[in-house]
Structures are given as C-alpha cells and as structure tokens.
Symmetry: C2
Subunit: 479 residues, 2 copies
C-alpha cells in the first residue's frame, strides 16, 4: 500500500487522496471534494465501502475529526450512506446519469458569439460626448449618497420608481417639453425596450395592429413584433407619419408609434396640423399614440415644438423619454408618462412583473436634476453638439458638391446624406467600414421600398475626429 | 383699449397678455405661451387676426423683436399663419379636438393606487440588514469609479453584461456553489423577473407546460403564467419537488422550476437522490430545469450541497442567482448561468430585446467582488443572521410551547411556524398586522390544497426588535 501520485487510479480505491496544507481550502473540504470526484468519476462505485475514518486519517496524516467532518458533509449531500455493520459506503441509489458522466466538468471556453464591438469610430450612433460629461460631480453625488444612504431605501417598493426622481422628471418635462403632468403619471424604466414592453402589456392585446413609421425605429418595431403585435408600416412624408395612409391600410389599428419631434431616422418634425390629425384619428378609433421623444432637448435653431402629449385632451398619448441621449447611455434609464386613467393598469402590470429599475441610480439622478446640474449639462452639450454639427455641415457644403446633398434637421445628433443617383447604401456602408468610418445605411430602417442614404451621428466625436472622417468619406465616395 | 387684470377675457382679444420681468422665463416665451393658451382655450378662434408685432410690442412695452420671436415660434409650431394682406392670424386648420378642450391641462393629482408600504416591521420578508452593510466601502468604490471612468464603457455593448463582473460571478459560484462554468455562460440580469422572462423567451414556447413547486415562488409562477406558459403545480414532500407526481401529472412538460437548495417557502433541501431523479426525468423528456438558488450562501450548520447545476452532464440545468439576499436588494441585479449549447440562443434573445441592466452598478460590483469584500460581507452577515436566528429560535422554544412548532431549516433568512390544530393562517396574518407584526401566511404560496403556517423573516431586524416582536406574537397567538 504505497502512495505515489504517478500511480494509475484504482477503481475502488481512496489511495490517491492527497491534501495540501498550503492551500486556502480547508482540509476537510479537500477530502470531501476528492471523494466526491471519485464518486462522480465512477472510480468509487455505488455500495463501495470507504475506509474507516481512523484509517483514512492515519493515511492522510490528519486529525480523525477532520475526516469525520468530510464524511458527514458527503452523508448530508447523499453521496455516502452508513450501513449497519458496513460502516460508510457510497450511496446505492446513484443513478446512471451521474456515474456515466466520466470526469467532472472543467471550465468551458465555448466559442461564444461576438458580443463586443470594435472601438467607436465616427460616425457611430448611440454615443454621446464623454470628455465633457460631469464625471466629477456625478461621481461625487453617487459616492456621497451611497456612503450614507437613508434606511428608507430598503423599504422602497414603489413600482413606478423613486418619487423624487419622478418629481424631477415631471419638472423637466414641464420646462423643456411643455408637458403638464403629475409625478404620479411618471414611470421610471430601464430604457426603451423595458418601456415598450410595459406599454405593450398594459394597453395592447396579442395580435393587435399598431401603425409604425416606415422608415422607423427598428428596435421598437422588433420588441412589439416579437411580443405578438402586428406592426403595420405606414410611410412618412416631410411632415412625418402619413395619417391618411394609416387610415387606408389599417383604420382600426389599436395604436401608433411615432417620433414627432424628430422622426427617426429621417429627422423630419411633425407639424401641429399632422399631430392634430393623428390625435383626431386616435380619438375616433379609440387608439393609443406612443410618442417616442428621444433627443428633442437638442435643438439648435429656434425652439422645439412642445411634446404631442401637451396637446392631448382625451388621454390617448403615452409619452416615452430616455436619459441615453441627453445624459448618458450607461445608466440605461428612461421614463414614460401615462394618462391618468391608465395609471392603475400600468401599476398592476409593473407589480405583476416586479421589475422596476435599480434604485442605485435613481436617487443620485434625482439630486443631479433637482440641483440644476442636469439642465446645465444639457445646455452645455447643446452648444458643443451645435458646433460639431456646424463644422461638419460647413465641411460638406464646401467639399462634397455634387456627391450628395445633406439633410440637416435643426435638432438631434445626426445628419443624413442623400444621393441624387441610385446607389446601394448598404454597400457604401460596408466599404466605408473597411476604411474606418461607421455610417448607417438608411435603407436598413425601412420595412418596405427603401430610400437610400447615409446616417451620420456626430455627438460622440471631437471636431477634429469628425473632420478627418468627413475628409476620408468624401474621398472614398468621390473615388 | 384699457388694460386691467381684473377684466374678463374677451373671446378674440389679446388684451390680457401680461409679462413679468422678474420671472426666469424669457419674455418672448411668456408671450408665446400666453398666446398658445388663448388658442387652446378657444379665446383666439381660427383665422382670428393677431395684433401687428408693432402694436403688441407697444401694448406690452417690450422690444418689437421680442414679439417677432414669439410669433415666429408659434408660426413654426403651426398655431399661427401669415395671410397675404391680413398679417398674422390663428391657423385655420385647428380641428375641434384641440379647440373644444377648454382650459389647458393643469397638474393632475390623481388618486394613484397605493404603491408605498408602511415602514418595515418584523418579520417582513425581502429585507436584509442595513446597519452592517459596508456603505462606506461601497460608496467609495462607486464614487471613485465614476469620477474617473474608462471611456471604453461607452462602447460597451455586451448583451450579457460587464465581463469583469461575469468573471467575478463565475469565481464566486465555483467557490460557494461548486459550479464550474466559463464567464461566457454567465448573463447579468436585472433580477428574478428579468431572468425568468429571458429564460422563457429563450427556451420555451407559448403554451408549454412547466412543473412548479406547490407551494412555491409566486412571483416566478406569475411571470411564467402571464407570459403564456402552463404552470403545472407539483406537490413537494420533505425532499422537495415530487418528481413522481410530476411524471404522473405532466410527463412531457418542457421544464421544471425548482429551489433545491432551500425550497421556497418551506425551506426543505432537495437531497442528492431527488436531484438525480429530476435530472434523469429532464434527460428523458428533453426538458429544462430552472434551478433558482436565492440565498444558499446563508447556511448556518454544515455546508450547503453544491448547486444542482454542478451535477448536470447534459446541459439541461439553467442556474438563477440574485444579489438581493446576499448583497442588497437595492441594486436589483441577478444572474443566470446557461449551458454552453444555449449561449447563442440567449444572446439572440438578449440582443433582440436589448435590455441588459445598467452599467452603472456592474463595474463597481465587479471590483467589490474581485477585492474580496463581497465574500467578507457574506461571512459577516452569516454570523449576524445566525445569531438573530438563534435568538429567535431560543425564544420560541422557551416561550411558545404548545402554541406552534418551529420549522427551522439550517439555512436562509426565514423560519416557519406550524400549527397542530387547524387554523386560518391568513386571518392570523391580518390580526398580527394590526398589532404591528408582519408575517406571511403559508397558505398563500399554494396553488392548491394549502397547508397552514406562518413565515417569519428575520434578516432585516435587530435581535432586540425580533425578540420584542416574538413576544407580541406569542401573546397574540396565546390569547
């Protein structure tokens, strides 16, 4: 009975057990783990008798109590049993599923799908400026709050979110978007998809039809479609969604998803007359309008139209906003404002699913808004983005004559290049990507009959980066 | 044409416009807002002619340019139009919906449903200790990280969460739960409901049957049921879910939702033999087991059984964990571990819905885990909770003889009171609540044929609070 680590393992033996006193793992755990592996690996068969605790403690040079502890652990786990007259044995009822498995699993290194992207290059969308974000103030508010948080947080159970944040959002909407609402109507969400899914559950039924701008916000369309709604593509003109076409195609739709402040992705603004036409339809059809208002705080010329919700007298508009563009995409937070009469239904849904966003962000964000830093930040960013946009437009108007025209709505974080002749915008997108420039082909936003164009987002890049990329883009398109 | 603020408003007049130079609102905005309200209120009718900019500027005593700006704003919004020869008029096409509405909306104060709870009193569930939470360290990590965050965060787009956190979770699971998995298998979630909904979308179809412990975790059952799964109640015995009954009632179910470490709410542990029986069924039926493991780090006697997932050779177990009990419910974060072969499908679902949890918490939590503070915290809390549990059990064993027996599994954050004679536990719950004691009636966790009992959670209260409440409870039940 010699012990050697190079000896092959015997099928019913415990001779290869070893302990390592330098290891952080307690010795009884080392023993239990190794025995477990012998059972799982089939080297200790069911009903096989184990050495007595005395024998094993002598073999390993450890206290008998240590072995007793290891055995008791495995008895508790069901790997071992005690038999009258036989001492400790491997449990008889270990079925095949366990024993046939061979070696214990080792760390898997699957070839997981590509989840990460390359470093951002102009003109990737969804980015905001990073350099000028008030990291210091934000970090200080967060740190200060969480070093000494009120115990009442632990009892917080408001399905709609942290009340001071909801109050701050209502005040912001009044000032910036002309919406008069009570904080009770504001629901904090984990961003767009959470908001859309909540709305879907609260106001729609499976198979309901809903008008969708074409081109439009693909993510929202996907969330609704995957969840069983029938998204009816409705074309847009220079005033946004064609209500007349919606009436023709699906008069009795249960809802309409629109981006009136700045149509996504084309940037056109829906004027008052079209808004009223849409509301009139919603009232006739007893339908719901979802107003997705994602970045209208960034308006460079004149003032934004007040939100459509401010026109709504009948409680048919649900407003959806996000902090991603005006603050930071990192916090993944947004909000919706629902008509008073829908509060109860939304509350039921929120409670049933029980998934309001993390409280960790909400109090700090509320303070940031209450103290006015939020509005200061937006105004600063608006100046910054205005000059980036201006620089880009100037460059193109001087250098890109004949290659394309530029659609530059007076708001938002992107511009659109349009081509006079027929082009394959997806092919151009791919070609530019190889050259280190990221644009979005407009045609990808269409459900049907795509128009061609390139969407360029400028918010996340410095003027120098933008101009360098613009130069490369013009050269590439001109060649 | 005199101006008086007490004069009644004339239907087509602008005489009541006033400005307040002390107000923070710019003067042109004050003018535009009041004109908008006159239109919306019906006091300025469609096609009504407005005063010339010169006349109005004189009337108000402001620069003409200011009135021009206000008019231009309203022209842009579509409230006004310019007519050849008539100057500026109210837009003709304002439809009835807008005009019939009367006064502009005022802040609503709806009677919103009760969303908030009373201050926590023993023995409310879902709480953890607050005093001993490492607020200082946690606040410092958060503040330090966010005062100087890496720009790479902005490009982060991993649908499964922040990789360092996923690595830390995998390491934690190896050490505490015996699970060997790659970080690629770990998906960060916004807590239970998010996790369950993701699992449902990734592995089940509408109408699929799934075994559910009876009594069981009501929230999970509700999420699955609302989403269209058919939850089949399967009774439990002292070893947890009765696999034999599941086979009898719904042999071909597509899944089983179980809490093997500590059955919720009864606290029974599923022994190895039953676990293997369940896995054997899943392999036969090609079904999925969801292992919900919510607080097994808190084990006071002996060591916890390794997670069921550690026994799984065929990739049929999905593990679900949460930070709510072992860390803090405030961060609303959890995770699931999926078999390698399911990674791609889960990734598709996560990308399609696009709602991974906020990045704000993940890097700080990763640091907290990497630096070992997380494990230190759990060990400290385990000692604390052990002594709270002990104090409560001692009190009941001395004082509550004959009134009830106590089920006290050697783990978790609650104990159960059982009654020898038939009682109405919901009635007792209500009676105790009036006396300032919060317990949960066991019968509420049942889908069918309820047993009676009272669930008492002890984690969120000091020994003194617990003993005081225990005394009141014994007195109330004894009277």
């Amino acid at each position: 009975m010699q012990r050697s680590s190079s000896r092959p393992v015997q099928s019913t033996s415990t001779h290869d057990l070893g302990i390592d006193r330098a290891d952080a793992e307690p010795i009884q755990d080392q023993i239990a783990r190794q025995l477990r592996e012998l059972v799982l690996g089939g080297r200790l068969k069911p009903k096989a008798r184990l050495p007595s605790t005395r024998a094993l403690s002598e073999q390993l040079g450890v206290a008998r109590a240590t072995v007793v502890e290891a055995y008791e652990q495995l008895l508790g786990e069901g790997y071992l049993e005690t038999r009258l007259g036989s001492g400790t044995v491997v449990a008889a009822q270990l079925p095949d599923v366990l024993l046939s498995a061979g070696k214990p699993r080792v760390a898997a290194t699957p070839s997981s799908p590509r989840l990460k992207r390359e470093p951002a290059r102009p003109f990737r969308s969804g980015l905001v400026d990073w350099e000028n974000f008030p990291h210091d103030e934000w970090g200080r508010i967060l740190g200060r709050y969480w070093r000494n948080p009120p115990i009442s947080l632990l009892e917080h159970n408001d399905a709609f979110g942290w009340m001071p944040l909801r109050r701050a959002i209502a005040a912001h909407l009044f000032e910036w978007r002309g919406i008069t609402c009570a904080p009770e109507q504001v629901i904090v969400t984990s961003g767009g998809p959470d908001a859309f899914d909540l709305i879907r559950r609260a106001v729609f039924n499976d198979g309901d039809s809903i008008w969708f701008e074409d081109p439009g916000y693909v993510t929202a369309r996907r969330v609704f479609t995957l969840a069983g709604l029938n998204c009816v593509a409705v074309r847009i003109d220079r005033d946004g969604l064609l209500v007349s076409e919606g009436r023709k195609n699906a008069k009795d739709a249960r809802g309409a998803f629109v981006t009136p402040a700045r149509q996504y992705p084309t940037g056109v603004t829906m004027p008052l007359s079209r808004r009223l036409e849409l509301i009139a339809w919603a009232n006739e059809a007893k339908s719901i309008i979802i107003e997705d208002d994602y970045d209208s705080e960034y308006r460079y010329v004149g003032k934004p139209l007040p939100a459509m919700m401010s026109l709504d007298r009948s409680g048919c508009v649900i407003y959806s906003g996000t902090f991603s563009k005006v603050f930071s995409p990192i916090i993944r937070m947004g909000f919706i404002v629902v008509p008073e009469k829908m509060i109860r239904k939304f509350c039921e849904e929120r409670v049933a699913y029980g998934a309001p966003p993390s409280l960790l962000v909400q109090p700090a964000l509320a303070q940031f808004m209450e103290q006015g830093q939020f509005a200061v930040h937006i105004r600063r960013m608006r100046r910054l983005y205005a000059s980036r946009r201006e620089a880009l437009l100037n460059y193109f108007s001087n250098e890109a004559k004949g290659l394309f025209t530029v659609d530059a709505p007076p708001s938002g974080l992107s511009i659109m290049l349009r081509f006079r002749k027929a082009v394959d915008d997806v092919e151009i997108e791919q070609k530019l990507l190889k050259g280190g420039i990221e644009v979005q082909a407009l045609s990808q936003y269409y459900a049907s009959k795509p128009e061609k164009g390139l969407l360029l987002s400028f918010a996340g890049f410095s003027e120098a980066e933008l101009l360098q990329a613009a130069k490369k883009l013009v050269e590439s398109l001109g060649s």
